[in-house]
Symmetry: C3
Amino acid sequence: MSLLEILDHTGVFVFAITGALVAVRKEMDIFGFVVLALMPAVGGGTLRDIMLDVPVFWIVDNTYLFVTLAAAIVTFFAHRLIQRLSELLTWLDALGLSVFCAIGCAKALELGYGPVVAVVMGVITAVAGGIVRDVIANESPLVLHKEVYATAAFAGSVVFVVSPMPDQVSLLAAIITAFVVRGLGITFGLSLPTVKHS
Amino acid sequence: MSLLEILDHTGVFVFAITGALVAVRKEMDIFGFVVLALMPAVGGGTLRDIMLDVPVFWIVDNTYLFVTLAAAIVTFFAHRLIQRLSELLTWLDALGLSVFCAIGCAKALELGYGPVVAVVMGVITAVAGGIVRDVIANESPLVLHKEVYATAAFAGSVVFVVSPMPDQVSLLAAIITAFVVRGLGITFGLSLPTVKHS
Amino acid sequence: MSLLEILDHTGVFVFAITGALVAVRKEMDIFGFVVLALMPAVGGGTLRDIMLDVPVFWIVDNTYLFVTLAAAIVTFFAHRLIQRLSELLTWLDALGLSVFCAIGCAKALELGYGPVVAVVMGVITAVAGGIVRDVIANESPLVLHKEVYATAAFAGSVVFVVSPMPDQVSLLAAIITAFVVRGLGITFGLSLPTVKHS
C-alpha cells in the first residue's frame, strides 16, 4: 500500500465519521449512520466517476465500503468519545479534503481531460459528498456559507494542474497547498465574505 | 408477462403512490405528483443502472413511466380514498421493497459484479428512491430514523447472494425473506435502536 | 455561433442567475453562489447526459462553466441591481426554459431514443436543475407547487416530438410553444390546480 493509498483511506474514514456525526445529531439508526457516512466518504468520487464515465471507484475496490462501514459503526457506539476529539477530527478532515482534491484532479488529467475539468473534478471529489450529506440531513450545507473549505480544494487542484513537476511531486504539492489553505482557515477562523441580504 | 414482471410493476405502482401521497401532504400540483411519484418508483433503479453503467431500465422499457404516471394521476384524484387504504398500502409497499431488492441484486450479479456490490445495489434499488423523495419534499428521510425497512432489503439481498439455489428459487427466497423481515417490523412495530444525542 | 447557441448560452446565464439569487437570500459566500448557479444552469443537462450515457455537455465544452461562473460573480457583486430587474429575468428565464426543453428533446431524438424518452429528457433538461437548486438551498421546490412551468417544458417537448417539419423548424416551433405557454402563465398568473390536504 502506497502512502497515497493510506492517506486516501484515512480520508475516507474521517469523512465517513463526519457523516456519522450528523447522524448522531439527527438521532438516526445504524442504517442512517451508514448512509450519511457514505455520502462524504464516497459521494464526491462517485459523482466524479459517473461524470467522467469511468467505473465507480468503490465498485472496483470494495475496501472503501468496508472502511466507511467501520467508521459508521465506531461512531454509532463511541460517538461521545469521538465528539471529544473534535479538534483532531477537524485536522484529519482537512487532510482528507487535501488528498481527495489531489486524487480527483489527477484522475481527470490521467483520463485525458483538460485542466478546467480536472480542477472541477478535484473540487467535486472533495466537497460534493459533504453537500449531499447535509442535504439528506435536511440542513443547509455549511460549505456554501462561510468557510475556507472549497477554496482549499480549489487551490490544491489549481496547483496540481499548473505544476510542471512529475506527477508524484505535483500530487504532494497539491495536498500540501490545500492543507495549508484549509489550515490557515481553521487557525485564524477565516471565512469568505458573504452577501448581506436586505 | 412473468410473475416477477407483474410483481415488479406492482412494486413500481405502489412505490409511486407513496411518492404521490407525500405530494398530497405538500399540496403540490400534478407535476409535483409525477416527480415525487417517480422518485421512489424509478429513482433507486436509475441510480443503480447509472452506477453499474448499463442502460437505465425505464429508458429501455417505458412501461415503468406509464405505470408511475397512472399512480400519480390516480392519487391526485382519489387521494382521500387511497389514504383510507393505508394498511393495505403498507403491505404492498413491503412487497415492492422485497421485489426491488431481489431484482437489484440479481441484476448486479448477472452483470458479473461481486456479492458486496450486489448487496449494495439491492439495497439502493429498494430504498434510495424513497430517500430522494423525502429530500425533495424537504423532509428528513424516515428510513434513516427508525424502522426495519432498509434492514429488510439488506436481509433479502444477502439471502440472494449466498443462496446456492437456481436463480428463480433464490429470487423467491430473497423476496420472501425481505417480506418477512419487513412484515415482522410492521406487525410488532420493531425499529432499529437509535442513538440519543445529548 | 448559431442563433441556437446564443439562445442556449443566454439560457445558461439566466438560469445561473436564478441560482445565484437563491444564494443571495441564503447569505452564502462566493462558492455557494457558484454551486447554486451551476445547478439550474447545467444540472438538468448533466442528468440528461448521464442518463443517456453520452459525454456530459459542459465537460466537452467548458464555455458553459465560464458563463455560469460569470453569472455567479455578477450576481454576487450586483445582486441589488439584478433584483430590480426581476421582471426582465422572469421573461429571460422563460426563454431559457423554452430553449433547454427543445435542446434536450432534440439531443435524445438525435441519439435514436423514442418520443417518450425525448419528452422526458426535454422536461428534465429544463426543470431538474432548478429542483436540485431548491433542494440544496433547503427549500421546497417551487416548480412542484403551482406554476405553469414544467407544463411549458412539456408542451414544447411534445410539439418537437410530433412535429413533421425539418429539425430547425421543429426546434423553433418547440421553443415558441414553450415560451407562449410559460408567457401565458406569467401574464395571467395561471397555475396548475393543487390538492387540498385535509
